[in-house]
């Protein structure tokens, strides 16, 4: 209770310093939030593209339907396969006509062979797995040809790997920079209360007791900073959606996680700053 009262007192006594801390936390997390927004949108786009990647095994003309159906059953049992579908020549024609409307009159009955279209599960859409599944399909005598856009899949996979690595590196860098800035700001508030800490220690307050108000204060500043950052990110997202392009925003889970990260950053920043101060004295 006393810790809470002292924390509120600390916030009210130096409103400018408190506002500066909250603003610093808000902008640090806002930068992190913007980066997060870009990252989730890139990830989502890549995922959407990946979902469209498929392996198509063309069945030789004259293959009995029983053989094709048996192959379909085999393929559906592959552990990497999410779904597989037998496409008849008629369905293939319909699809070609709808996808390539300007050439619709060129496509004739019997032009396209039947095929088995395979979608792989998430996590199995890398070039190596795709090549292996394609090779297994190609091993069937009545499969004429297997296509999956090998070169394109490899490029996509490389792009995803680079995006993942860049995202992790930048994310960690942003988080570390945010923590350093927040730690420095909170250290200023700790230094502003050196006399108070000194008196507390002198009269026999334990280090845990001395830390408590600072931890509460750091946590409150973190949550406030996190909320401001979330609001700023939302405004930036709205502006982006309105004037540039449609983009996704954080879902509730990620928004709550953002606030929790703010609280955690404030808490850690305070713990480190007060801990350092207590050790130095």
């Amino acid at each position: 209770m006393l810790a809470l009262r002292e924390a509120v007192r600390g916030l009210r006594r130096a409103p400018l310093l408190s506002a500066l801390s909250v603003t610093t936390i808000a902008f640090s997390l806002f930068a992190f939030g913007l980066f997060g927004l870009v990252a989730i949108n890139i990830r989502q786009t890549l995922q959407q593209v990946e979902e469209r990647v498929e392996i198509r095994a063309f069945i030789a003309e004259g293959t009995p339907i029983e053989a094709s159906s048996a192959l379909l059953g085999d393929v559906q049992a592959f552990p990497e396969v999410q779904s597989a579908m037998l496409v008849s020549p008629r369905d293939a024609l319909e699809r070609a006509r709808s996808e390539l409307k300007e050439f619709a009159d060129i496509f004739e009955e019997g032009l396209l062979p039947s095929s088995i279209d395979v979608h792989l599960r998430e996590g199995f859409r890398d070039p190596v797995t795709m090549r292996a599944v394609a090779a297994r399909l190609d091993a069937y005598d009545f499969v004429d040809e297997v296509r999956y856009g090998e070169e394109w899949v490899e490029k996509l996979y490389r792009l995803r790997t680079i995006a993942g690595l860049a995202g992790t590196t930048l994310g960690v860098t942003f988080a570390v920079v945010a923590m350093i800035i927040i730690g420095a700001t909170i250290r200023m508030t700790v230094l502003a209360r050196t006399r108070e800490i000194e008196v507390m220690r002198l009269v026999g307050a334990t280090d845990g007791f001395i830390r408590a108000p600072f931890l509460i204060e750091g946590c409150v500043k973190g949550v406030l900073g996190g909320a401001c950052a979330l609001l700023l990110t939302y405004v930036a997202h709205q502006a982006l959606t309105r004037w540039v392009m449609s983009a996704s925003f954080f879902d509730t889970r990620l928004a709550v996680l953002g606030l929790a990260s703010g609280a955690l950053l404030g808490l850690l920043g305070s713990a480190v700053s007060v801990g350092r101060h207590l050790r130095e004295r």
Binding site: R195, V199, M200, L202, V203, G204, A205, T206
Partner: protein, 229 residues
């Protein structure tokens, strides 16, 4: 109550601060600690409240040996001591009573005991009428009285006073010293560092004189220790 046995203290940057310091302070005793600036008075006092540890030798205060003192023990030891300084070290944004109450609150005193105890202590130091005044509104002597009241919150066994009258005029010095005598008369041991030779002469209490980190005179033994400069 306080025991220093062959205490040496070396600081990394400034070198030796104390050399072979040995003395004891009994329960209820009043001891002056004197000597020129930089002689080692404050280092001795800091060792008593565990702000410094000896490099070698042993310091035991109120049954706590410094060599085995952990972080929490330091807090517990300090609850048995009271410390006042030349510069008062009051919290400027709190009233006199809030300064005293703060010391009780942070050491976990029951909430219902705080107000009566603060009132009693401020009465004891003669500041009952200025309980709601802030440090900036009080004279130096009055601020030191608030600091003494704060030092007494835990009914200490020893009151450590580091140049408590150093910033005060004669009248305020006499008042603060009289207060320390009264506290001592009530059973609390007082160890007071001072430069004020007149005060020491007038009071006729035990005097320990340090110079260049060594005890050069302890009036309790009536003669300088062997080998002293």
């Amino acid at each position: 109550m306080i025991r220093f046995a062959h205490v040496h203290k070396e600081f990394t940057r400034t070198g030796a601060a104390l050399a072979d310091v040995t003395f004891q302070v009994a329960k209820g005793e009043f001891v002056f600690l004197t000597g020129p600036s930089g002689a080692g008075k404050s280092t001795i006092l800091k060792m008593i409240y565990a702000a410094e540890r000896p490099t070698t030798g042993e310091v035991v205060v109120a049954g706590h040996a410094m060599s085995t003192l952990g972080g929490r023990d330091v807090a517990l030891l300090r609850r048995k001591l009271g410390v006042v300084f030349q510069d008062f070290r009051l919290l400027e944004d709190r009233s006199a009573e809030a300064n005293v109450a703060f010391a009780l609150e942070v050491t976990g005193a029951p909430a219902d005991t705080i107000a009566p105890k603060v009132a009693r202590l401020l009465t004891q130091v003669g500041l009952a009428s200025k309980a709601t005044s802030f440090p900036g509104e009080l004279s130096g002597g009055e601020q030191q009285r608030v600091a003494i009241a704060r030092a007494l919150v835990n009914d200490p066994m020893v009151l450590i006073a580091d140049e408590p009258t150093g910033n005060l005029d004669d009248r305020a010095t006499r008042g603060v010293f009289q207060l320390l005598r009264e506290i001592n008369a009530a059973g609390t041991a007082v160890m007071m560092a001072t430069h004020d030779i007149e005060l020491i002469k007038r009071a006729d209490f035990r005097t320990i004189e340090v110079n260049r980190g060594k005890i050069v005179l302890d009036s309790a033994t009536d003669a300088p220790p062997a080998g002293a400069a």
